[in-house]
């Protein structure tokens, strides 16, 4: 009984303390405090990740966990900074010789973590394997325009392209592997790179441990060990951070947890627009959805403000196009129409849809019914349930279907869907967000969209030699896509990093790379 009373007192005290401290935004104050302290070397830094990496071979990796770990083990020819610009990595400089030829000068004196020297042979080998169809590299499509990679010298390589390819640099952050050691099947579980850390151990579904390597060419990072703990349960991640077992957790995190953590004085929350979007993919092969008026009405019925504020708590932000805010291609003037139920109703009426006795819209004997599908992500299911409710108010009968990821994406790829709520991640270049999605017969053009003008603009943007020309092409293409509505883009995804109070020097990096840990140190 007394124990129970003690609990109540502690809970009440805790609640009072939480209320007192609520709203105490600590990020700026903490950063200042960090700046005034002297960095110290050493310590083990623990990060929570929701799923284990599939492979740590960067050429084969496609999950975010692997990409995060690999960003500390490997270096690419270039690195992509927070403004999404290519900066020197293993290549110290480069020049475009002509429209289809690029020369790269490599950094000298670099060693892999096994002591082997890094040379042009490693660059050639890395890209040759990626381009080899038998290797089955998931991102091979991004490198398809590369005709050959040849060594001009020990520290010079040349990329020859089959056609001009403007986004090339954005994709050359692929980790370079050692040609003498990366041929075996076990490279996936025993990776060797030129990054600041090397793999110490990998307990499957439990923990990946990296240690600082003495072979790294750059400035010695502060942390001597980095542990990636596989914690599928979000609550467990948050608890472990609060307990101090973890030093950092990152997106994806439930929005409600982020809001709670922002009020917790024992942690620091940093937020930034990420490189992902979520959108409704409309299957244009569907008899109902091939009608532009219906798609326009749907667009009017999507309340982006409500979705981002109520469901994502303002962490994700409303979006109209696949172009990411804060990048050179983004045009803030391209906006989606505001949520307007009356206008949607009017549009459908003009299109000949009338309500039947059950209150469902119909035209030529066909009712306006839609299946809204997604995979089992609670927030996305909530969006579709909300949308289902709004649609029912205008007489559109909608059904929400949620499936596991493999089933869902197989259905989308086979065009067995009407409206699918999906996302794109890692959009480092607008080409990655548009070319395969909107060109006729593009690899990810699951919706069956075709516009000769968009085809021409996206091709032009790929071959343009200036950023200004590329921007003009992407902005114009985005406006046409926004008019034709194969996609209804809902939101730009936020990137959130939460750290414990003893973590200093962390600059948020929205690319999802963990290379920013090089400047992080731990205080006692």
């Amino acid at each position: 009984m007394s124990k129970s009373y003690g609990w109540k007192v502690r809970m009440a005290a805790g609640a009072a303390l939480a209320l007192m401290l609520a709203g105490c935004g600590t990020t700026a104050a903490q950063q200042n405090a960090s700046a005034s302290q002297k960095p110290v070397y050493g310590g083990t830094f623990s990060i929570g990740i929701p799923v284990d990496a599939g492979t740590l071979d960067p050429r084969l990796a496609q999950d975010t966990s692997a990409q995060a770990v690999d960003s500390l083990i490997f270096n690419g020819l270039v690195a992509i900074n927070n403004s999404l610009q290519a900066v020197p990595g293993l290549a110290t400089r480069w020049k475009q010789v002509n429209a289809t030829t690029w020369d790269f000068t490599l950094r000298q004196g670099v060693e892999f973590s096994n002591g082997q020297p890094f040379t042009s042979a490693d660059v050639v080998y890395t890209y040759q394997t990626i381009l080899n169809p038998k290797f089955n590299a998931p991102h091979a499509q991004l490198y398809a325009p590369i005709k050959s990679v040849v060594a001009l010298g020990k520290y010079e390589v040349q990329f020859n392209l089959s056609e001009p390819y403007a986004p090339l640099l954005s994709y050359l952050n692929m980790g370079i592997v050692p040609h003498l050691s990366a041929g075996g099947a076990n490279f996936a579980t025993h990776p060797i790179g030129t990054g600041p850390y090397e793999l110490k151990s990998w307990q499957r579904n439990s923990q990946i441990t990296l240690v600082r390597t003495p072979h790294f060419y750059g400035q010695k990072p502060y942390l001597s060990q980095i542990d990636f703990a596989v914690l599928p349960d979000n609550t467990a991640q948050v608890n472990a951070l609060k307990a101090g077992t973890l030093n950092m957790i990152t997106s994806p995190l439930p929005p409600q947890d982020i809001i709670t953590l922002e009020k917790d004085p024992s942690v620091t929350v940093q937020k930034e627009t990420g490189l992902g979007i979520i959108y409704l993919n409309l299957n244009l092969r569907d008899p109902i959805l091939k009608d532009l008026k219906v798609r326009e009405a749907l667009d009017l019925l999507v309340n982006r403000q409500a979705i981002t504020q109520s469901i994502y708590k303002g962490i994700d932000t409303p979006a109209a196009t696949t172009l990411i805010p804060g990048t050179w291609a983004y045009d803030p003037n391209i906006q989606a129409p505001a949520f307007n139920v009356a206008a949607a109703k009017k549009l459908l009426a003009e299109d000949g849809w009338t309500k039947n006795s059950q209150g469902v819209l119909q035209k030529n004997g066909k009712t306006l019914t839609l299946t809204l599908s997604t995979y089992n992500d609670p927030n996305r299911v909530e969006i579709l349930t909300y949308l289902q409710n709004v649609l029912s108010q205008v007489g559109i009968q909608a059904k929400v279907v949620q499936q596991d990821w493999a089933t869902f994406i197989a259905g989308v790829m086979a065009h067995h869907y009407q409206v699918a709520l999906i996302g794109w991640l890692g959009l480092v270049d607008p080409d990655k967000a548009m070319y395969e999605q909107f060109t006729t017969n593009g690899a990810f053009n699951w919706e069956g969209y075709s516009s000769p003008t968009v085809d021409q603009l996206l091709q032009s943007a790929r071959t343009a030699t200036t950023i200004a020309q590329r921007k003009a092409d992407y902005d114009q293409a985005s406006q046409i896509v926004l008019h034709d509505l194969p996609y209804i883009v809902l939101a730009d995804q936020g990137w959130v990093v939460v750290t414990g109070k003893n973590v200093h020097g962390l600059q948020i990096n929205r690319t999802g790379s963990f290379r920013n840990l090089e400047s992080v140190w731990l205080s006692n």
Binding site: Q62, L231, A243, T245
Partner: protein, 321 residues
């Protein structure tokens, strides 16, 4: 021996059913492995490389041929042999299951027996209420509460993860170093307690029911008439007979701990075979699913065999050929 030989057709049948089911559900391992960045041509190429474009019977026969040679194949999603993945996950699962079972039985036997002996008393009411709560409360909720209280509030246990391997901990013990064993026990405590309490709830109810039935038998009355002590009657004469029923439930519980503790494994980041199986299913990693199910089924069968053997030990009248 006859019973052991029966395992072979059972495992074969399970393999066949699982193989059919996993191939019937939508979703393609090649597409999952390559992600959304892959083109249809890439997926088709990988399908071919993995032999997934072969007729399903051909794929099953190939699989069976490999298994009979002791080769469970290569995981599609984790780039490692299935046997090495299972070899890592299985000891973790067994460790958790054994500790959880010890907690479950250690709590359930005294509670169930006492409830039966003091039937309809306050103790009976209290212990059966505990059992009802244990059965009804979702395991993820119980686990989260334990973390909040024991790990965050009292800082007694870590919130997640596994300690050192059992072998390492025991080897250190020999040299007088108790640290690794302490770490192992601290890590296993909360997941095992969560799992064990739900098991204890079920088993204690079974013990109570079985004991009430046995305590009403004529031979118990005879024992009392002969002047045997209550303790001897309850623990020697009644419980040994009641255990025949209870052991079956304990066996089933142990089987569940071995194969079905997926939620606990997720909450406590315990790298066991349950999570390995679920991840494999989600990734449509056919060889890994097959391997995991085969091992779980074999374990279940072995546990059932041990339960059957224990019948003979508990009741000398039961004899197996």
């Amino acid at each position: 021996m006859k019973r052991i030989s029966l395992l072979v057709p059972v495992l074969l049948g399970i393999s066949f059913v699982v193989f059919l089911l996993i191939h019937l559900i939508p979703g393609n391992p090649a597409a999952t492995m390559l992600g959304t960045s892959a083109t249809p041509a890439q997926i088709a190429r990988l399908d071919h490389a993995l032999g997934l474009d072969q007729p399903i019977w051909q794929q099953f026969l190939d699989y069976l041929g490999r298994v009979l040679q002791g080769n469970l194949g290569q995981s599609i999603s984790q780039y490692q042999s299935v046997s090495s993945l299972i070899a890592y996950a299985l000891p973790n699962t067994i460790e958790l299951a054994v500790v959880a079972l010890a907690i479950a039985v250690g709590l359930a036997l005294p509670l169930g027996v006492a409830s039966a002996v003091w039937r309809n008393s306050f103790f009976d009411f209290a212990s059966m209420t505990f059992a009802q709560i244990g059965i009804s409360m979702p395991v993820f909720w119980l686990g989260t509460l334990f973390v909040e209280f024991f790990a965050l509030d009292l800082h007694l246990f870590p919130t997640f993860g596994i300690g050192p391997p059992v072998g390492t901990a025991l080897a250190s013990l020999v040299t007088g170093n108790v640290g690794p064993l302490g770490s192992l026990l601290a890590h296993v405590a909360l997941p095992a307690l969560t799992l064990g309490l739900t098991g204890a709830a079920i088993v204690s109810r079974m013990v109570r029911t079985a004991m009430i039935e046995v305590l009403g038998q004529d031979y118990i009355r005879t024992a009392r008439a002969k002047g045997l002590s209550s303790g001897r009657i309850v623990w020697r004469h009644a419980l040994s007979n009641a255990l025949l029923v209870v052991v079956t439930v304990i066996g089933l519980q142990f089987g569940y701990f071995l194969g079905g503790a997926v939620i606990i494994e997720s909450i406590f980041a315990w790298p066991g075979i349950g999570r390995l199986t679920v991840n494999a299913i989600l990734a449509r990693d056919f060889p890994l699913v097959q391997g995991c199910v085969l091992v779980i089924a074999a374990l279940f069968a072995v546990v059932n065999l041990l339960v059957d053997v224990s019948y003979a030990l508990l009741n000398p009248k039961i004899r197996y050929q």
